[in-house]
Amino acid sequence: MDWQDFLSVLPFIIVAGWATILLLVDLWIPANRKGITAGLAVLGLIAAIAAVISRFGIEREAFDGMIIVDGFSSFLQLLFLGVGVIAIAQAYDYLRRRDIERGEYYILLLYSLSGMLLMASAGDLIVVFLAVELLSIPLYVLAAFAIPKADSEESALKYFLLGAFASGFLVYGIALVFGSTGTTALSGMVAAIESAETTPILLLVGSGMILVGLGFKVAAVPFHMWTPDVYQGAPTSVTSFMAVGAKAGGFAALLRIFISALPGAAVMWMPLTMWIAALTMAWGNIAAISQTNIKRMLAYSSIAHAGYIFMALPAAATPEVAPEAVRAALFYLVTYAITNLGAWGVVLAMEKAEGSGLEIEDYSGLGKKRPALALAMALFMLSLTGIPPTVGFMGKFYLFQVVIDANLIWLALVGVVTSLISAYYYLRVIVVMYMRDGEPEVRSEALLNSTIFITAFGTFFFGILPGFLLKMINQVSLLDLFR
């Protein structure tokens, strides 16, 4: 352990440390000026972004392999920090509007982000577990942020109880894997499996339980049932952050553990992940059709998207395709993050102070009232469906290509068919916006508008010129993944 080890976790230290400092500073910030806390939080994130960028391209292990710094982790950390900045910008006006503006919001958000950052560079199951909890516990509180609103309470309670329940599975799974391989280090596990010094049954049961725990985090079927309730009940700005950040965090751990630490057991988990992916895509998209509340609809949509990303796991079981599969999953995560943040931003703009305005019908007439906002929403819906020229199309295209390369034709077919089904409910939003008459009440808040603009621009820009992003992702080398 030396100072370089600390440099390796510098972004994490900055974010977590800054959150702790802010917790104290916030005491002296007057209650009606919590924007200062938000601004300071963003400053911390920018410092962390600088820290990530400064060590871009470096690959090393720190703290005895507990922490892995590689392209994979740097890329995801950038994504998380970017998501964090947008989430704070989206929250500011929303919290004021709903009269729940408290400085702790931003601090909890930073803590949750620090968990995500840790997750991206976890090299040991201990760190994975810590990161999962660090990511989740602040989110439980954030979901309850609108207390005493009943929806917020219910959302938080469900999320908390089920989250803790899933954590129980995760911990027990880790215990069994530890018992089987004799280590919790991911690299050690690879070696142990290769040398067959394992108790296979314990390894299988253990990795199955880990799958349950992380499947819960990413909302994969059948561990997804909390998602619609929690997304609907939580304050929308929290939902936006949760839908994007927590999911990406879960996938960071899933990809790292299953693709880099357990390739030896791929024969076993490949068919299982395949079924989970197919089921998740089907369930999410089909259940979304009959939703009338936009938050619930987007929640099911996020389940469906978890299914798409999940396809990268069975595809990665084919060793030659594995690097591409990871890249496709990363690319898809980015497209999902950009598009979803934007869509949730529009939902935020439409929500009224008392929390109504969330039915899809409420979007009637938006095309006439606020053409730019409606155009942005239409763009996000097209991107979620996967229609060119949006980034969502490029994401699906890349992912399906990888899946086909891995010879999982039927899985790709399920993906395509469920995408078609999804068009039904995404396009309905567009139809309602443009073809129904109505007088929607819409906020126009500068920060929120700029996040919508940025994400809409990204959705469109990367849809036409994905080269920038692909280039960056192609440089992602996974130190631990593909030695």
């Binding site: 201990i126 207390i147 219910e154 469900k158 911990v171 027990y172």
Partner: protein, 105 residues
């Protein structure tokens, strides 16, 4: 006295199952939460058992370390969870989880 790891493991499995069943059949949020604690602690027991089996090896230490982390995390979950349950009790006068089911469909 040397208890074979398999025994400890069996006990930990039983505890875990009890915890899961508790979550599924009880309606009091506090009891559910206690059951979850039981699940976490059964995992701790398993960690200790495996660590003892690996005993002289350096890696065994990771099991012990893990236990401390789990305890710490469980404690912070208690902090958050109990606060939440108290808040809900204040507005609903009840901590029956089945009554907290207005969000559905």
């Amino acid at each position: 006295m040397n208890i074979p790891p398999a025994y400890v493991l069996t006990l930990s499995g039983i505890l875990f199952a009890l915890g899961v069943i508790g979550v599924l059949i009880r309606r009091n949020a506090i009891v559910i939460f206690m059951s979850i604690e039981l699940m976490l602690n059964s995992a701790n027991l398993a960690f200790i058992a495996f660590a003892r089996a690996l005993a002289p090896a350096q890696e065994a230490l990771r099991g012990h370390v893990f236990v401390f982390f789990v305890i710490a995390v469980a404690a912070s979950e208690v902090a958050v969870g109990l606060a939440l349950i108290v808040a809900i009790f204040r507005s609903k006068e009840s901590i029956d989880v089945d009554e907290v089911s207005s969000l559905r469909g």
